[in-house]
Structure formats: C-alpha cells, structure tokens
C-alpha cells in the first residue's frame, strides 16, 4: 500500500508583536519524559518520606524513653533497696551487738555514771552586770584614737 504524502507543511512564522518563545520551548523540549516523571515522583514521595522518617524517629525515641523509664524504675528500686539496707545497718540492736561483742564496750551501770546536778538559776539571784559609763576623756580617746573600739563587744 502506497501512502499519500501530506500536501501542506507548516512552518513557524514569527508574527510582528507576538512573544518570542522559541528559546523556552527548545529547553522544555530538551527535557526527557523520564526525568519529568522522576521529578514528579520525588515531589510526590518526598513528603511521604519525611512523614515516614519522622514516625520512625518518633518510634525509636519512644523505645528509648521506654528503656530509660525501665532504667529509672530499676534505679528507684535499687535506691529503695539501699535505703532499706542503710536503715537495717543503723538498727540500734545491731549497733549495740557490735559495740558489746566486737568492740568490747559495755553499758554503763548506774554507779559508773556521776550525776552533775545543775542548779536552776533563779531570776532573783541573778545579778545584773554593772556597766560603767565611759568618762568624757575615754570618749574623746575612743573618738580620735580607737574608733573601732566602739564596735567591739565589752
């Protein structure tokens, strides 16, 4: 079968007043469709990738928090155990046992302790301390020679 060729041909003509787009069209025409597709795919996929990676990071941090929480709980339990141990070590019965059986100490008997009786000071018996007023000469001396003396205690 013989195909009939086209009788007309179209040639681009730059009409006066029309914009020159040839340059741009040439650049666009140069882009291959595969690249266009890939760019489009990247534009579409990037947010999804960001979204997924964000979630992955979140999950990873979550697991880390879980582990740290377990660690905190473990340390708290250890802390409790050590507190109980400290308390049991300070048991007065244990201390008394060590003092008497290991260190050779004894409980003081009543006759081994001397009672020093402290009389109650009666208000009537308490004599006020007489403070002599400084003479005028001492005041002058204190003023010129030893001003710091005024701040000291008697």
């Amino acid at each position: 079968m013989i195909a009939i060729g086209s009788r007309t041909q179209v040639y681009p003509v730059l009409l006066p007043g029309a914009r020159e787009e040839t340059h741009y069209r040439t650049r666009r025409a140069k882009r291959r469709p595969e690249i266009r597709f890939l760019i489009l795919l990247a534009i579409l996929l990037l947010p999804a990738l960001f979204y997924v990676s964000g979630h992955v990071e979140m999950a990873r941090t979550g697991y880390q928090i879980s582990r740290l929480r377990e660690e905190v709980a473990l340390l708290q339990r250890e802390n409790e155990r050590l507190r109980a141990k400290v308390a049991s070590l300070s048991d007065p019965e244990r201390i008394a046992w060590i003092a008497t059986n290991q260190l050779g100490m004894i409980f003081p008997a009543a006759n081994q302790v001397a009672v020093v009786e402290v009389p109650v000071p009666l208000a009537s018996q308490a004599k006020p301390v007489a403070v002599r007023a400084p003479t005028w000469w001492e005041q002058v001396q204190a003023w010129f020679l030893h001003p710091e003396a005024q701040a000291s205690e008697p």
């Binding site: 941090t61 879980s66 049991s88 009672v115 009786e117």
Partner: protein, 572 residues
C-alpha cells in the same frame, strides 16, 4: 457468527464472575465495615491498645527523728503454667519442699487455672534461686513484686504491724492508716507494636497515680530500743509470762515507746502466733491494781469529800457490804493515815474508806472523766474500751475494791493517759502515735498536736496528788524507782489476777509501776507491766526498778538536766 456468540457468552461469564467477585468483596466489606464494625473495632482496640496499671508506692513509716521503720522493697513471686505441666503430682512433690508447703496444697493451686496460678508470693531470694535451679522453664515463671520491708526487724513491731501479700495493712499502724499509706494506683492507655512493645508516643494518662503518704510517728527509735532491751532483760530475770513498757510525753500525749513482750518480726509475721501480733496494752484489758489509787485520791480531793489532812484508820482489814472483808497486802496495819500515807504505803483499807466516803456515783463519774470505760482514741486498731459497769451494777464490795483497782478493768494505755493528766495540770490528753502525715511530695498534710480531751481535776489537785506520788518514790513502796538526780512521782501496783473459776487467783499477779519524771516539768510518763512474774511479784520490787532503768537512760537520751533532786531536798 457462532464464534462471535461464543466470545460474547464467554465475556458474559467472565463479566458475571467478575461481578460476583466484586459483589463478594462488597458484601464482605459491608459485613466488616458496617454490620460488624463496632465489634471488630473493639476487638482491634483490645489487641492494639493496652491499659497499663501504674502502681502507687506505699508510704514509708518513720520515727520522730526521721529514721526509717517501714520501707518498700522487692521480692520474687513464683507462678506456674498448669497447662505445661505434664505430671502435676510429680511436679507438686518436687516444688512443695522448696516452698515449704504440702504437695496437696500445690496440687490444689494448680487446679485453680490453666495458664497462670500463683505458687508462692514474695518469697526469699534463696527460695527463688532454688526454684530456678530446677530448670522448669516452661512450667514456672518469676515476677518481681513490691514488698514491705521492716529494716529494724522486731523493733516496734506491735506499733508498726505488717502488710499482707497484696501490700494491704493487716495490723498496727499499717492497718489503721492503710487508706493513707496505700495511695491510689493510676491508669494509662497505650498502643502496642507488632512485637507487643508499648509505643510511648501513644501513651495517654487516664488517671495519675498517687503515692501513699509518709507517716512520721511520735515514737523514738532509741527510746523504743531502750524499752525493749530492758523489758527483755526483766522478762528473763523475772520469768514473767508477758510484759509491756509504755512511755508517753504526758503533756502532749505523744507515745514515745511501746515495748511489748513476746515480740515478733513483722518481716516474717506468719512465723509468729496470731495472739502475739496484737498490741495488747491497747487491745486487752486488765485489772490495774493500786496504780489506780492516784485517780481515787484526785477524785476524792477534787470532790472535796476529803482534805489532805483527813485521817483514816487502817487496822489491816475492813468489813464491807455483803459480808466481805478488805485486807491489806501481807496483812500490814498502817494505823492512822492521811491520803498522802495511803498512797505512800499503798494501803487498800485506807483507799477503801476514801472510796466509801466518795460514793459510787461520784467515783464512777470521776472514773469516766479520767477516760475509763471509753477508748482513748489512740491511732491503733482494735482498741478496747475497758470494763467499767454503771454504779447500779456495782454489787457487794465493788466500790471498795475499785478503790485499789480491782473489779474494774482498763487498758494499759487508758491508765497511762489518765494518770498523766495529773502531770498536765489536770488535763486529759489523747495519746497518739502519728505525729505528721506528709504526702509523696513531702508537703505536710496533717500535723497532730496535743489534743486536750477535757479537764478532769483542777491544776491544784493535780499538783497536790503528784507531790503525794513523789512521796511514794521517795519513801514509800516505790523507792526502787528512784532515779539519781531527778524527782520521780509514781505508784506501784500488784494486782491479783481473776481466776477462771471465780474470785482471784492467789498465785498469779500483775506487777506494775506508773511513774512520771521529772516532777517539776514532766517529760516522761512510763507504765511498766509484768504479767505473772515468778518468785518476786510485788510491783515495787520487780516493776519499779525496771522503770528506773528505762527512765534513767531515756532522760539522758532526751538531755533532761538532772537538777530536780537538789531542788526537792532544798524544799524539804
């Protein structure tokens, strides 16, 4: 043409098949998404979401100086998976000796479930280790559970009490303040991943947990230790069946120590007999004997039926209503006595005469005012009210015997609170054990101060009776309670115990001493009780020296300066 029809028919079949397939999918979708949507959503949620119970930590118990008396620890618990046990009988026989139970008990537990049954809760590390070494990995498992720990062992066990397997208070302070100590568990919801791990970012707190409050007691560990050590020694010395020492600040009602013998270790409470668990100075009544005489003296003086100078004649015995005869201990005749001498010599005949003069109604009213017949309100469970029948039921010589503490019953803590009123200007204070309650963040929720119940006698009467009690220790039956350097007031008691066959048993006594020191500014009220001492049984001989030993050491510990005795000599 036939070919076209064939193709059309095939296309029709294909279309039908295709339609049916989609129709099937559609129906299934409607079934899953519409008809069973709710049910399946719930099922999915159950698989995906997990409700987490956030356990609240039980509050600690500290002494008045902040020393830890009850804290939380951990202990392994052992469970079994009955489904995986091929020969339950052999399994029971293997594990029973390690768990210290009978094989039958193990078998009974195995019958309680298929996937999970507790074999033993909160066992020792040694028991858990022995079980682990059996290598029964499919049959048994281990879980760590919170456990109450009492680091001071048996110290103050009767005050603290203990908790059960689920950490619930079962005795003592642990039971009384269980609602405060326990706290409230919280709840959170979270999603799980495919491996069952919790996704933290999905966790939502539904209810925040509230940890239990911390209790700061009025009790002092050192005073408690001194009391327990001296009580142990006295029990060993006297062979008494049981004993108790109660120390209280008479002005505030703060219980400083409550030593009770026999003791037990709350960490292993199940090893002790249940009778030993209860703090009997609070939960049981006894006849106080002559330690009640100060109450009689204060009542009679306050009612003005006698004066300090009123004289009563003691001829060794006194016939009373119903043909009964009141006798003095050891058949002594004290002759002419004032109330001061009646107390000093612990004269029953004189006390019976004073009570007769006071009368049933008045004495009963005063006893009630002093708090007898009613619980004191101390913060320990199971407090007894005492036995104080109304005066119309005081038959025969009850009035006279009640004068020296027989025929009526009190608890030890009641008696201590009542006599302490004499050291407190005549005011009865409520004895208490918890001083401060702090929440889990350390904020004070409640601070318990001195709680004056009522004024039972005037300050003048209280002072007068206290000075009479000082004579008891200076030159009366209580000389054994003298503490060098301090002024001591006190009263001895030697009460016969009621016989199960009626009347009183001539061979069983309760020896006691109640002392207050120093008299000029009372800091310590101590009640010593020795139940059924062997050999020597007089309160002045066995209980008063025990008071002296405790008071001497506690006064040193409290740094109370010893200047009172000199003052007393000067005054005399």
């Amino acid at each position: 043409m036939d070919h076209d029809r064939l193709i059309k028919r095939r296309l029709l079949w294909l279309f039908c098949l295709y339609f049916l397939l989609w129709a099937g999918i559609f129906v299934r979708l409607v079934d899953l998404q519409v008809l069973r949507a709710g049910e399946l959503q719930q099922l999915a949620s159950q698989q995906k979401f997990i409700t987490l119970r956030i356990e609240a930590s039980r509050g600690r118990i500290l002494d008045r100086q902040g020393r830890e008396l009850a804290v939380n620890g951990e202990a392994p618990s052992i469970y079994a998976v009955p489904r995986n046990i091929e020969d339950p009988k052999a399994f029971a026989e293997t594990v029973a000796p390690i768990l210290k139970v009978s094989p039958r008990a193990v078998l009974e537990r195995l019958r309680q479930g298929e996937y999970f049954v507790w074999l033993a809760r909160r066992v020792s590390a040694e028991t858990a280790g022995r079980m682990e070494r059996l290598g029964l990995k499919n049959e048994i498992g281990f879980l760590r559970e919170s456990r109450r720990v009492y680091p001071k062992g048996s110290l103050a066990a009767h005050i603290l009490g203990f908790t059960g397997v689920d950490n619930q208070g079962l005795s003592g302070i642990e039971l009384f303040y269980d609602h405060i100590l326990r706290g409230q568990p919280g709840e959170a919801i979270a999603e799980r991943d495919g491996r069952g791990r919790i996704l933290v970012e999905t966790q939502r707190l539904v209810k925040a947990p509230v940890d239990g409050a911390t209790l700061i007691l009025t009790m002092d560990e050192v005073i408690q230790y001194i009391s327990e050590r001296e009580l142990d020694a006295a029990i060993k010395r006297t062979g008494a069946k049981r004993g108790a020492i109660l120390a209280m600040d008479p002005q505030s009602g703060e219980i400083l120590a409550m030593a009770v013998w026999p003791r037990y270790n709350p960490n292993f409470y199940e090893r002790a007999s249940p009778e030993v668990w209860a703090p009997w100075p609070v939960t049981e009544v006894y006849e106080p004997g002559s330690t009640l005489k100060p109450v009689l003296a204060a009542s009679a003086l306050e009612a003005k039926v006698i004066t300090p100078e009123s004289v009563f004649i003691c001829q060794g015995s006194l016939p009373v209503e119903g043909g009964y005869v009141i006798r003095d201990a050891l058949g002594k005749r004290h002759g002419a006595q004032r109330i001061r001498e009646i107390l000093k010599n612990s004269c029953n005949v004189g006390a019976a005469q004073v009570a007769t003069k006071l009368g049933k109604e008045a004495y009963y009213t005063y006893l009630r005012k002093f708090g007898f017949g009613n619980p004191t309100g101390i913060d320990l469970p199971g407090e007894a009210a005492g036995i104080l029948p109304p005066p119309e039921r005081w038959l025969g010589p009850t009035l006279q015997t009640a004068a020296f503490g027989q025929g009526i019953s009190t608890t030890a803590v009641q008696l201590l609170a009542a006599v302490s009123a004499l050291a407190n200007g005549g005011f009865l204070v409520r004895p208490h054990i918890v001083r401060v309650i702090r929440d889990s963040e350390g904020k004070v929720v409640k601070a318990v101060g001195p709680e004056r119940v009522r004024q039972v006698v005037s300050a003048q009467t209280a002072r007068l009776v206290l000075s009479m009690l000082e004579d008891v220790v200076e030159e009366g039956t209580g000389t054994g309670a003298q503490v060098k350097g301090y002024r001591v007031a006190g009263k001895t008691g030697t009460a016969q115990k009621p016989s199960p066959y009626g009347g009183y048993d001539p061979d069983r006594y309760v020896a006691s001493f109640l002392g207050i020191v120093p008299v000029e500014d009372p800091r310590l009220a101590v009640l010593v009780i020795l139940d059924e001492p062997r050999g020597e049984y007089l309160g002045g001989v066995v209980a008063a020296p025990l008071f002296r030993e405790v008071a001497r050491q506690v006064l040193w510990y409290l740094k109370v300066p010893p200047h009172g005795a000199e003052e007393r000599r000067d005054r005399g």
